[in-house]
């Protein structure tokens, strides 16, 4: 009898061993987590061996396809009627369809060495690829070091031609994107990025790119469980930390803006951000919200130390709770509400600006209408070849707005066209007296610095100009000013040369 029992046990053990040798199908949550963490290779492997709810698996496959940027395949997978019955399936299907239309036959640039894949909707933007790749790699590595989490390769960046396409690829409502002026979105494991070609005055695309890459890294680190204030606060913090400080950087901007909003009762509130800052009702609200989250994160990290961020993200990833409070309390001892009170108190206690600082600030705009009239008249005159007359009008505009860099750039440019070097220098003026950075002004300033033998400073100014308005001819061509229909030398750097030629092409 005893032998019989032992034999039965042996058989059972054998069966168990056989069973354990065959891998168990992965739970759906594992697949979802792998996709959310942008570990797409792991997600693919898990899906290969997965079994169970066919609808859930099909949805997961479609989601994975969207994450790898294969919207076409995702749209095909989601065309099955059963998948469209669920809200998630219908939403994903709509996104896949619009995304497939916007990305079909896009121009792809893969940089295997850097681990970055760029896809341009408009192939005219490919001249920007070398610059985008360089900045994206730098920002990714810098942010990863700060946050303590690596982003798996490749980093996928979609460069879209307009807000319409950004909305189509990201799923962000177009109206919301237009209201708040969304320039880029980190969604579906990719950075969806507006081409600088879309904005007439350019935008600080390098910092924007760093901002969105930070979102991807925070999402991966926290398994997308970081609250919006933390996401945006960290992204805002990291968007400039990847590079050295630049002129016109205002480290106190967030605190000043948040303090003003707090005192004026215009604050948005850390817990009132909604699903996205891009979906706030006005651009002003969005600016205030960014200032608040930036200020708060800066304050919090100042209080608890930079290493707390990595711990907080790990805690959030592990706890998975709806509220960030357990993780916050675990890392820093206080809940969000308590930190909020402390931060607000700190903001209120900040002393007002030094009156002497006020005196040093650039003069305000005297007459907006005169500035606008002078600028436009000058442009029209210059277009007709009346350069001297254009300078006359630009000067009138400059009188009305002496701190406005764009009019200084126009005047300096016209002076260069007349070969009036003293006039050029005078028009550029003093950088400290300018209200803000301007691509054109920086490009011509770089030229002046270069002519004066300050090569390093000239390179910095040129890079700064490129970071703002890469497709402005004076910027793209590194300050080589050309009269309408005329000629001018090309930059020596091959990438810059290609950019310059592209901008000058009719």
């Amino acid at each position: 009898m005893k032998r019989l029992g032992l034999a039965a046990l042996a058989v059972l053990a054998g069966l168990a061993a056989v069973a354990s040798a065959r891998p168990a199908p992965p739970p759906a949550a594992d697949i979802s987590d792998a996709i959310t963490e942008i570990d797409l290779e792991r997600a693919r492997k898990l899906l290969d061996v997965a079994s169970g709810d066919a609808t859930a698996l099909a949805l997961a496959r479609a989601r994975l396809a969207v994450y790898v940027g294969d919207c076409d395949a995702a749209a095909a997978q989601l065309s099955a009627p059963t998948l469209g019955e669920s809200k998630e399936g219908a939403t994903l299907a709509a996104l896949a369809k619009s995304c497939a239309r916007a990305t079909a036959a896009g121009f792809v640039v893969d940089d295997a060495a850097r681990g970055i894949s760029l896809r341009f909707q408009d192939d005219a933007d490919r001249v920007l690829a070398p610059f985008l790749l360089r900045i994206a790699a730098r920002a990714r590595d810098s942010v990863a070091e700060d946050v303590g989490v690596e982003l798996l390769r490749p980093l996928r960046i979609e460069v879209v031609r307009d807000l319409f396409s950004l909305s189509a690829v990201s799923g962000l409502p177009l109206k919301a994107a237009e209201t708040t002026g969304t320039l880029a979105v980190a969604r579906w494991g990719r950075v969806i990025f507006l081409s600088p070609r879309a904005t007439p005055l350019g935008f600080p695309w390098q910092d924007t790119l760093a901002h969105e890459i930070t979102h991807l890294i925070v999402t991966r680190a926290s398994r997308d469980r970081a609250p919006l204030w933390l996401q945006e606060g960290v992204a805002k913090r990291e968007e400039t930390r990847w590079r050295p400080a630049r002129p016109f950087d205002d480290p106190n901007w967030a605190d000043t803006t948040a303090r003003s909003a707090l005192l004026a009762g215009r604050g948005v509130g850390l817990d009132q951000l909604g699903p996205s800052i891009a979906m706030l009702p006005t651009p002003e609200a969005a600016t205030t919200a960014f200032a608040e989250v930036s200020s708060f994160v800066k304050f919090w990290l100042g209080e608890v130390g930079p290493s707390a961020l990595e711990l907080l993200l790990l805690d959030l990833r592990a706890t998975g709770a709806d509220s960030p409070d357990p993780a916050l309390e675990s890392v820093s001892g206080y809940s969000l509400a308590e930190w909020n009170v402390l931060w607000r108190a700190n903001l209120r206690e900040q002393p007002p600006r030094d009156p002497r600082e006020e005196a040093l600030r650039p003069p305000p705009l005297k007459d907006g209408l005169a500035f606008a009239r002078g600028s436009r008249l000058g442009d029209l005159l210059l277009e007709r070849g009346h350069t001297e007359a254009a300078r006359h009008e630009y000067r009138a505009a400059l009188d009305a707005a002496p701190a406005e860099p764009s009019i200084r750039w126009r005047l300096a440019r016209a002076s260069l066209l007349l070969d009036d070097q003293p006039g050029f220098r005078a028009a550029l003026g003093d950088r400290d007296k300018l209200r803000a950075a301007d691509g054109g002004w920086l490009a011509l300033s770089s030229r002046a610095l270069r002519e004066d033998g300050h090569a390093a400073e000239a390179a910095d100014a040129s890079e700064h100009a490129l970071a703002l308005e890469p497709l402005l001819e004076d910027v793209a061509c590194d300050g080589a000013v050309r009269a309408p229909g005329g000629t001018a030398p090309l930059p020596a750097d091959p990438d810059r040369r290609a950019l310059c030629q592209s901008v000058r092409a009719p």
């Binding site: 076409d72 619009s98 497939a100 239309r101 916007a102 079909a104 036959a105 121009f107 408009d122 192939d123 005219a124 031609r161 307009d162 807000l163 319409f164 237009e178 209201t179 002026g181 969304t182 320039l183 880029a184 507006l194 070609r197 879309a198 904005t199 007439p200 005055l201 935008f203 600080p204 695309w205 910092d207 924007t208 901002h211 969105e212 992204a235 968007e239 016109f248 205002d250 901007w253 800052i277 891009a278 006005t282 600016t287 960014f290 200032a291 907006g368 209408l369 500035f371 606008a372 009239r373 600028s375 436009r376 008249l377 029209l380 005159l381 007709r384 009346h386 007359a389 406005e404 803000a436």
Partner: protein
């Protein structure tokens, strides 16, 4: 005697007697078998025909077998003995058989006995056979055979004799191949063939020669006849189909066959699977209903759409039987628009007509590919639902999308450039130039720049100039530019204002045009997408790609035109070019799916023609550090101010029109109130008196020009006056009365000095009538004055209020005129003049109204309204032509009262259409509608004629 020879002799005797009878029997049996086979085979089925064949074969084989057995039996002596002797004489036969056996044994076995002895024994035994034994038996058998033959022959003959054709039919059927018997037979007597054409042809039925003829396709062929032999299943067949004959109610049969193609009909009888046809076929040719022939005057022709305003289509459609419908068909790319021009009753064989196609037609407005215009006619063929015939096509080639907009923007930009050049000359005059000579040159330069602005309003690239509102704006700015002494401003400052004003308006125009062009390009992108969608079907690759290529060509050109529009246009043009490269990249990678997807994206993008990036306050989601954007205040508000002024003028014009309505109603009410019941009664009495006074006058109808004719007409007019008096329509009554009076005077003169008998009349009657008419005229005049006085008094208080409102409107108009003259919201000189005149007319009208002169005041108001409408301006944002292209709802112009007051008026340069338009307007206005407004309309028409 040799026994063998003896036996052979007996066998021969048998043969000579039996063989002939047997042959007779065979033929008799064969005849009977054939008759039976015929009867069986007539059933026509395969089994029956097999059975029939079996019967014949059985007889033949049976007789053949019998002959073989007979021959075989006579070849051997023993068998012959058994067959012929034994049955006749048993003992003798057995003896002979034993003798033969003994002989055979003796030949093999000598122990049996000597062969000679045995031979002798056999010879003796055979010799005993009587000579007549076999002969008798043979004769008996022959007799039996003959009897059988006779019986069978008789049987067959009887069967054949009863219904000889049955046998023939049977044999015919038996010999059929492929279902058709070899021998044709006549089945119907008195055969007739009648054609019954399709009802829609409305042609009576008629006979057709059975030997051949033709009939309209779709006719019913009716074959009648009397069966030659009853009981046959007769059919009418064309070789493929057959229709059974049915009784026609008497002795005949009838079958109907539809003629759907050329046929050869035959009457036939069906026997099972076999058809036995009539020998004579009936070939009938089907005459098809011809497709309608449509001739479109001028087609084929290729016309540039931008070079015409209207396409007149004259057509003639003809059909051999009748027309049911005529359509105008427009096709462009994958689109088709079919419009019914005429629905006909199907009887008319020739129809002609004409149809106009305006370039503002909704279909033409939205096309971007060449449009094929055809007239298509459908005949009354009900069999196939009507056949369509199409004319040759007139191909309308639309202008490239955005070409007109780009050209007119270029015009405005060039005009702006001229003013910019003036500004440059003013702010940066030539070095060392003498100030006095500069001052002297200034008016000419200003004039040149102003002229450039005016020229921009006069050109019409592609038949479409700058919008009317913008034209007024530019003319106003030209006036400002030429002002010798600008209000406290230097010439340069005034020129700067004008440059910015024109620039602002030009940019607004280009933005609006860019949006309009982009939306139309969206349709082209959709067409490309549809083409690539079609190309994904392997069978339609060529057609799909051709369709898409055409659309891409349109997009290429359209994108170039968008780029020429600058601003938003440049942005959308750049987007379009980028997307076109993407589409072409997909095509080069042989992926029509991706090309379709990219084209659909482009279509959706162009249909939402917003800037690529639009934000009220800069970007979010990174990068922005709160640095304020450069000030973006518009440098000039002139176009906005102009539009505000135009809107105010429009409101004021509408308000003034409402005031005119009010005054009209008040005057009408006052008139009506003055017509009391008492007055109506008095008027009826006067009318009756007048009728009595003229009742003795002759009726009209006498010789023209005679005194009686004049008197007759006078009577008619006097009676008309009486009716006018009854209705208190005193104006008309007085008019009729005066005419009657004149005619009576003429009749009296002719009566006093008659030239013919027709001039002779009753003087008394004429006098009475003349007196009565005179009296009633005086009464009517008096009554009219009384009524007017009464109405004036009744309306006085209200007219005072109306005069105040008129003055108020006049003051506001004066203030607007001031603004239009002195500010940047400048109106053209001609408009200002009209507005000044309108003010004068308003002042005069107000004065009349205040003085109780309602009718005069109303006339003044109407004149002011006319001037006001001529002097007003449309907003710069309005584009009558563009609106028409976009297919928007008709706008309601000022004072329109729901009527579209912005109907397209042909320009003076299009003389033919302008004359036609003028004629239509005058005819319309010249129609007498009665009522209070009639005189005003007449005056307005007269004004147009001046």
């Amino acid at each position: 005697m040799d026994p063998v020879a003896a036996l052979d002799r007996h066998a021969n005797a048998w043969r000579t007697r039996v063989a002939p009878a047997l042959r007779v029997a065979f033929w008799g049996a064969l005849f009977a078998a054939v008759v039976v086979a015929g009867a069986l085979g007539r059933r026509g089925t395969g089994e029956a025909r097999l059975a029939a064949l079996g019967v014949v074969v059985l007889v033949v084989v049976g007789f053949a077998a019998r002959a073989w057995v007979e021959r075989r039996g006579l070849l051997r002596q023993d068998r012959m003995v058994r067959r012929l002797i034994l049955s006749e004489d048993r003992l003798l036969g057995e003896k002979v058989l034993r003798a033969l056996e003994l002989k055979e044994r003796a030949e093999h076995d000598p122990s049996v006995g000597s062969a000679e002895l045995v031979g002798v024994h056999l010879a003796r035994t055979v010799a005993r056979i009587p000579e007549g034994l076999v002969v008798r038996r043979g004769e008996r058998s022959a007799r039996r055979f003959r009897l059988v033959a006779l019986a069978l022959s008789l049987l067959g003959l009887v069967a054949v004799g009863l219904d000889p054709p049955r046998a023939v039919e049977g044999l015919d059927v038996l010999l059929a191949r492929h279902g058709t018997a070899p021998l044709d037979m006549v089945w119907l007597e008195g055969l007739t063939l009648v054609v019954q054409p399709p009802p829609y042809l409305r042609t009576p039925e008629h006979h057709l020669d059975p030997l051949g003829g033709e009939a309209p396709e779709g006719s019913t062929l009716i074959v009648r006849g009397t069966p030659a032999r009853p009981g046959r299943r007769l059919v009418l067949t064309d070789g493929a189909h057959e229709v059974p004959f049915v009784t026609d109610g008497s002795d005949g049969v009838v079958a109907r066959f539809t003629l759907d193609r050329d046929l050869t009909l035959r009457v036939a009888a069906r026997f099972g699977d076999v058809l036995v046809r009539e020998p004579v076929p009936m070939p009938v040719s089907a005459v098809p209903d011809a497709v309608p022939l449509v001739v479109l005057h001028g087609a084929p022709e290729r016309i540039e759409l931008e070079k015409i305003e209207r396409l007149d289509l004259s057509y003639v459609a003809a059909d051999d039987h009748g027309l049911r419908e005529i359509d105008l068909v427009l096709r462009s790319g994958g689109r088709e628009d079919r419009r019914v021009l005429e629905k006909l009753d199907g009887q008319a064989r020739v129809e002609q007509g004409s149809q106009g196609l305006d370039v503002s037609d909704p279909f033409l407005r939205r096309v971007f590919l060449p449009v094929s215009v055809t007239i298509e006619a459908r005949d009354n063929d009900e069999l196939e639902g009507g056949r369509w015939g199409a004319s040759a096509a007139i191909t309308l080639v639309p202008p490239a999308i955005g070409a007109v907009e780009a050209a007119r923007y270029k015009l405005v930009a060039e005009a702006r450039g001229a003013v910019v050049d003036l500004l440059a000359w003013l702010v940066d005059p030539p070095a060392n130039a003498d100030p006095k000579s500069l001052e002297k040159e200034l008016p000419n330069r200003r004039h040149d720049a102003a002229n450039a602005l005016r020229t921009a309003t006069e050109h019409k690239p592609g038949g479409q100039g700058v919008p009317a509102g913008l034209a007024s704006f530019l003319l106003g700015q030209a006036r400002r530019l030429e002002e010798a002494k600008p209000n406290g401003a230097t010439p340069a400052a005034r020129t700067e204002e004008v440059v910015l004003a024109v620039d602002g308006a030009a940019r607004s125009l280009s933005a609006r045009d860019a949006q309009s062009v982009a939306k139309r390009l969206g349709d082209a992108a959709e067409e490309a997408a549809d083409g690539y969608s079609e190309a994904q079907n392997p069978e339609k690759v060529k057609r799909g790609t051709e369709r898409a290529d055409l659309a891409l060509g349109v997009l290429d050109v359209g994108a170039g035109n968008l780029l020429a529009l600058e601003g938003l246009g440049a942005d959308l043009g750049s987007v379009t070019r980028g997307e076109l490269r993407r589409i072409r990249r997909a095509v080069s990678e042989k992926s029509f799916l991706h090309a379709e997807l990219a084209a659909r994206h482009l279509a959706a993008r162009l249909r939402r023609p917003n800037p690529s990036f639009a934000s009220g306050g800069g970007g979010v989601e990174g990068g922005e550090h709160g640095a304020p954007r450069p000030p973006s205040e518009p440098p000039s508000q002139a176009d906005k101010r102009f539009d505000e002024l135009a809107q105010e003028l429009e409101d004021l014009t509408r308000e003034h029109a409402a005031l005119i309505d009010q005054v009209e109603h008040e005057l009408e009410d006052a008139d009506e109130a003055a017509k009391t019941d008492d007055l109506r009664r008095q008027a009826a009495e006067h009318a009756e008196a007048l009728r009595l006074a003229v009742q003795d006058l002759p009726h009209s109808g006498a010789r023209e020009g005679s005194g009686r004719a004049a008197a007759g007409l006078a009577r008619d007019h006097a009676e008309a006056m009486a009716e006018g008096l009854e209705r208190l329509e005193l104006g008309g009554a007085t008019e009729s009365g005066k005419t009657a009076r004149g005619l009576l005077d003429e009749a009296q003169k002719k009566a006093l000095a008659p030239e013919t008998s027709a001039d002779l009349q009753d003087q008394g009657a004429l006098d009475r009538a003349r007196t009565a008419v005179e009296k009633e005229l005086a009464w009517a005049d008096q009554l009219k004055q009384r009524l007017e006085q009464d109405a004036r008094e009744r309306a006085k208080s209200k007219l005072d209020e109306d005069a105040d409102r008129e003055r108020s409107i006049e003051r506001r108009l004066g203030e607007m005129g001031q603004r239009a003259r002195q500010t940047e919201a400048a109106l053209p000189e001609t408009s200002l003049e009209q507005l000044d005149k309108a003010r004068d007319a308003m002042k005069s009208a107000a004065s009349d109204l205040a003085g109780g002169q309602g009718e005069q005041g109303l006339d003044g108001q109407r004149e002011a309204q006319r001037l006001l409408e001529q002097g007003g301006a449309e907003r710069t944002t309005e584009d009558s032509g563009g609106q028409a292209r976009e297919g928007r709802e008709p706008s309601h112009g000022r004072g329109g009262k729901g009527m579209d007051t912005r109907a397209p008026v042909p320009g003076a340069d299009d003389q033919h259409r302008a004359l036609e338009f003028r004629k239509r307007v005058l005819e319309g206005l010249g129609q007498d509608r009665g009522g209070r407004l009639d005189p005003a309309i007449r005056r307005y028409a007269e004004g147009l004629l001046e």
